[in-house]
């Protein structure tokens, strides 16, 4: 039996075929394909704030990209460009807190890394161009920012990535404080690009989108830790 990897999902008004703007739980297929190519069995976890009981059947948790985390979760007031979905936050924070407490392997992608940081007591920059003065992390709508990352020698992410440090970014927020997690990757502007929990089996957040290249280095490591 393959390790079961739960992927957190979006809820958006979606349009397909004859259907228009129907509230839909969905996840870009790149995530599903990346998990399955790495040897895992993907299931999609729609948000639900009642109970994290679904974790019982999961061997690993993949926190996918998505909208901004509600700033109240890290004690800040929302800034003008912050768009959050409290319903999704409520479900995901329940999952993350229980998963951290039970040492379940977790990979956080983009928003997923930000969720990890906030769950660990950290905080976010709400709009990076205001902080960094450039838009290299999200150059234009639908365009990934191609960057190179620097990783802390000896960290998990450094070992996984090896010599190829090219990353695909698409985000307007970023991790300001990582709480109890350790920042182990940066872009040249000093922004946190990878965080990890060095006291747990596998807790890794990356600010870029490894699913678009179905990066076996990262998804393979998640599935292996979950196995």
């Amino acid at each position: 039996m393959r390790p079961i990897i739960g992927i957190t999902s979006y809820v958006v008004p979606a349009t397909w075929g004859v259907w228009h703007d129907l509230p839909t739980a969905l996840i870009p297929n790149d995530y599903v394909a990346a998990v399955e190519q790495a040897g895992g069995r993907a299931v999609i976890i729609p948000p639900d704030d009642r109970d994290p009981d679904v974790l019982r059947v999961l061997d690993g948790l993949l926190l996918a990209g998505g909208p901004d985390v509600e700033p109240a979760r890290y004690g800040a007031a929302p800034e003008p460009l912050t768009e959050s979905r409290p319903e999704r936050d409520a479900g995901e924070f329940l999952l993350v807190q229980r998963a951290l407490a039970t040492d379940l392997p977790i990979l956080g992608v983009c928003r997923g890394m930000q969720v990890l940081a906030v769950a660990a007591g950290g905080s976010l920059h709400q709009h990076l161009p205001d902080v960094l003065g450039h838009e290299r992390h999200r150059p234009a709508p639908g365009v990934y920012g191609e960057q190179e990352a620097r990783f802390q020698p000896g960290s998990m992410i450094a070992k996984l990535m090896g010599d190829d440090v090219a990353i695909h970014c698409y985000h307007h927020q970023g991790v300001a404080e990582a709480g109890t997690l350790t920042v182990t990757g940066y872009t040249e502007d000093g922004l946190a690009e990878a965080i990890e929990d060095q006291d747990r089996r596998f807790v890794l957040g990356v600010q870029w989108h490894p699913e678009v290249i179905r990066d076996h280095r990262l998804f393979g490591a998640l599935v292996e830790a979950a196995g």
Binding site: R2, A14, W19, L22, P23, I27, N29
Partner: protein, 249 residues
Amino acid sequence: MRRPLIGMTAYAQQVQYGSNDLMAGMLPMTYVRAVHATGGRAVLITPDDPDIDVLESLDGIVFSGGGDVDPAFWGAEPHPATDVDAVRDASEMLLMRAALELDLPLLGVCRGMQLMAVAGGGTLHQHLPELIGTERHQAAAGTDPLAADASAYGRHDVVVAPDSRAHELVGSHLVVNSFHHQAVDEPGKFTAVGWCPDDRVVEIIESSQHTFAFGVQWHPERTSDLRLFAALVEAATERSGLRRPAYAG
């Protein structure tokens, strides 16, 4: 105490949302809410890389609506109006057969009912308007045929066989929505126990050989009548030895 985990088959579909246009694993939230409202926990089962190993984790399963089942499964040629997703068919047929074999509590909705009939050795009508001369069963997408101000189009009665298990769940008569152009012809090893009285189109199939296996041709998840979902969640609860869920509907 954990809730029963209900797997729901998902679409892999090109979809538009916001400024995105991409392939996604997805399911309308109406299905998810129907399970959560009746005390279950929903997860979506994507059709990629078909395998049945995920069934071991589930307490129940919903086969959701969608496109047409490939007529090759019952040895027929495709009708011009038949539109098939071969990847989804292959994955769901595998899951359907295995779920029936495992006696996993199971509800088939629309396409899910048709898939159940075909898995049981049955056959489908490929295009109902040619059979019954009306598009009564095809509500316009995005409408709610059960809304007070809706036209009669896409809404019809269902009569239920008095001695059936479905009768215990939904009674002798109900009014349903309708979004399909195909329908069950022969239910195979299952029993047809509900029909549209205007045209005798099969609307409910059930199994006498399984703990809980029903197929319905309408979309109960798009209505306020969640009795079938509540019954599925209860069957899943009992199968897995869990406490009865509080009905939160």
